[in-house]
Symmetry: D2
Subunit: 316 residues, 4 copies
């Protein structure tokens, strides 16, 4: 029961202790952003069993977000989270030294905390459906990203993936639920028309890259009588979780450009570290459904990349 551990040696103990030498060290490369991504295990079965609505069950998404918020409260070293469907990514700042950056510790702690809250909060979101074994569980892994650009590209990757999958699934389930098609029929319909298949879909928002158009939306509208733009933001964009400070005027801060210059863990004064900790604890953790691909999101929230807490916004 978490009693004090013996550190000293004992004749018999010392005969077996050599087995400790088989443990491998797994420190993640310093000065890199650590992404821990967790994924629901066997959620297809789980969805069926508890009757999750298709293509998106709002209660299930809210439960994921509630668990993510709790993880970020318990682990203040996480600066931002991004969730979609049954997966969630948590980002540790590149200067983070939690558990000496040991991979197993970081991954297992995030996964364990998330799983605990998911089960604990289940009844809040599914009051009429008590959990029974096998319980929902998650696996996880860590990936290191050396630069801010890599990290942002990772976030963009997940959000583009969210969009593509959601557009496809929305169309697919509309065909079934409103069009009366069967699953195979709907799949075939989409394949033949090559309309909303994940492979050729374009993002609906305007990107300077010019690769994105609004055409598909019109096609979807005319063919399937649905306006994808009116779909809930949580489905189209996924969920971003972060500590809320006062927004900053874009352009007034150059965090994204300078943060890569940071070469090693900042040595803060103890007072400064304490202050930062307090402000972080005070900050509200919010769940929003914003575009994380464009610069604007990052420019207005410099604390996400700098890891320096901003101003606590006044309540209005």
């Amino acid at each position: 029961m978490a009693n004090s551990k013996a550190t000293a040696t004992n004749t018999l103990l010392s005969r077996f202790e050599y087995v400790k030498d088989f443990e491998r060290s797994d420190y993640l490369l310093p000065n890199t952003w650590v992404v821990v991504r967790i994924d629901g295990k066997g959620f297809t079965k789980l969805c069926a069993r508890y009757g999750f609505e298709k293509p998106n069950d709002r209660r299930a998404l809210d439960l994921m977000n509630a668990a993510a918020k709790a993880v970020m409260t318990d682990l203040p070293d996480i600066t931002i989270g991004y969730g979609v469907s049954d997966e969630y990514s948590f980002i540790f700042h590149k200067t983070c030294t939690l558990y000496d950056r040991r991979e197993s510790k970081l991954v297992s702690t995030v996964v364990s905390t998330f799983s605990a809250y998911y089960v604990h909060l289940w009844s809040t979101y599914f009051p009429d459906m008590p959990l029974a074994p096998p319980l929902p569980s998650f696996d996880g892994r860590a990936v290191c990203y050396p630069s801010v650009q890599n990290l942002r590209d990772y976030m963009s990757w997940r959000q583009v993936d969210c969009h593509i999958n959601n557009l496809y699934n929305t169309t697919f389930w509309t065909l079934i639920q409103q069009g009366g098609m069967g699953a195979t029929e709907a799949e075939e319909f989409l394949k033949v028309r090559d309309v909303a298949s994940p492979s050729n879909v374009k993002l609906l928002t305007d990107y300077p890259q010019g690769t994105l158009s609004k055409d598909k939306n019109e096609i979807l509208y005319s063919k399937f009588h649905m306006n994808y733009n009116n779909e809930p933001e949580i489905n189209k964009k996924g969920s971003v979780v972060f500590r809320d400070y006062e927004l900053v005027e874009p352009g007034s801060d150059k965090v994204a450009e300078t943060i890569d210059d940071l070469a090693e863990p900042v040595t803060q004064s103890k007072t400064q570290a304490e202050n930062d900790k307090k402000r972080r604890a005070k900050a509200r953790i919010v769940v929003e459904h914003l575009d994380v691909i464009k610069d604007d999101f990052w420019d207005r929230r410099p604390w996400l990349l700098s890891n320096k807490p901003g101003k606590i916004p006044k309540l209005t």
Copy 2:
């Protein structure tokens, strides 16, 4: 919600997908025993908060064991578990190919499943103490052991450690609870007398190695009026969890000696694999408090090392 994932490419997606190349492969060495050990995080605080009894809280131990049983039910690839205090070790057979032996997958799945059940079953064991944030959580890591001897030495190491810590803690808390000492006083008392300090304690059972004696027990008895031998087995030996088949006469089976010769994953016929799976599913998973250091435990349960299910015992 576990909808079908897009596998195809998209212009924008492909711009970001390079971030997948930053993932590292983490396959564990084939033909080695994989031990996943999990540990409670910050359980000292947890013990205090929920008033766990000292030095051992039976409800808390039973909850750990219940969670471990559930883990082994959900993950039939685990052949044996060993738990003490707030830690649990789970062993995957050296031929196991679950998740292609990917370390992150194995560790995170075990940790997640355990955490989920720990929280889910909490109210069964602590009906009057509802859980509140921060919830209990666990970290975990994997270690590979090449030979049966290494694996058994690992198990012995944990059990000797259990014994040493329990003997010390039992004495320590007796001094406090029955002797009216304070924590510092008790610690000092034990240090000065050098009696039951973890460093010089000997195991109380008879080992052929001759390094173990019953003397300490008598000292403990005369000084502190407690007979360590009468302490519950669960405290002295920890808990072993495994599938229960008919015991085998020692000497009739040479598993421990021959299992190291197994060089690669056995290629079973499909029927055989199905049969094994069914028998495994049918077997009762039991929690016992046995000596896992001596040969007897392993000799009588050859299925633990061979991974071939034994005979289902008849109910009496």
Copy 3:
């Protein structure tokens, strides 16, 4: 010039020393056999440049073997080597603790030593062809094998590979050199007839597995007027390098069966270790062309698996 290194700290030095934290530890799993295999880099070009004879250049093979012997002399921790063509495998015993089993150290030392001797001894084997840049070089990697069976299977794999490639190449070059075919023609000839293509060739020796026949040899003989059996052993079997002690009567020693039981580095007395070292230094390192697939090779040379030096054979 290998002067004493400063270990103390300096103001400026300490500003930069954090970069040492980026080094990863790379200890290889204890109690496993370590195979370091090296491969010639760009040897196709090298062969052409220095006019190596096809399919086997005896001088080049002898040079490889001479370099391998020198490596084993300089690194007594290597118990056995196996070479074919421009590759060589060196085996460190599973109890080996050289360089604390650090992978980079082991691999780079073997590769460096081999390369140094290859260049140094070049003129002995190719007296008329002075080396010029770019010099021959080798890459290398380490692989761990948990059991004797794994290790022997590794050795068998390399020797079967040697056989298959040599049989194919011998036929291929006979068609060109004696049959007057061009390279493409010879390749096509072999593909159509499906005769000696690496995919369907059978080993020529008798194996209990029954998968091997002498038929192919006859086909080769009648079609291409060559008797593969008369080819030099070095080409057919590759080269095994090891320390030479008195052979042991097969069956009198059970090394292969018991060596897996060894769970941890043996703690020898200092005198014993010194004695072993001396005997090892005294032993002649020999290059032979033997079958390493069958048990006989290992049974008669128990020191290869036990790592205990045998008796130095008397000179006759």
Copy 4:
């Protein structure tokens, strides 16, 4: 002899091929600078054996530099090298994809090539001292650095280390060679006076950080009658090896600041890549003894960080 390898399967071969699954993947993290540092093995003995001059043997340093130049000629992916005493660091650009960034391949190839040239060129620098076994050899390891600042700090670390060791060794050997002291006496003398011990020595050049002074130099001059400033640059600064292009006016290029923004391997047109390759091959590789700690070195040679070849300087 680098004949074509069989890729197809064979009954016996396939029985053993499972051993390939024991190979671990070792791709280094993308978008990081890869430093491969090699170190002479047992060079203390080597120095004694071949009578290297103390504290610095010019022939030995020239041989190291000649081998390093050859390595960089054979491996154009290396952008810069830095050598001191019997160690050499080679830097691969963060966008480098040689051997898919496999650690073993990179380390072993550098070590092998260096060793081959060291032995091959030995007689040029030590014409009167033929090499004999055991031959000189080197070990090596790879370290990844995520940012330009990390990389420059690594280079600075090695150069400060060079300075500190050289100042100490120069003083130490002056005491012996000119002062007639014994080794122990000299060591004691330096320890007592705390004068030139590596721990408190300051760099002799002017650094904006203000931590460096010229005082020590004067102390050294008055006490030991030697002017450290007059020592050869190669001893004081070590050797930098790089491709020589036209120097750039400092400030006209912002490579160091922008190179961190590069997030992934640049996709060049084939023509561009070919052009770069040709220019690189045309560039002279030079060995210089410059200060690599200050910005000036890097600002004037933007190609070192950008990996884009500069202008070939006109011969005058």
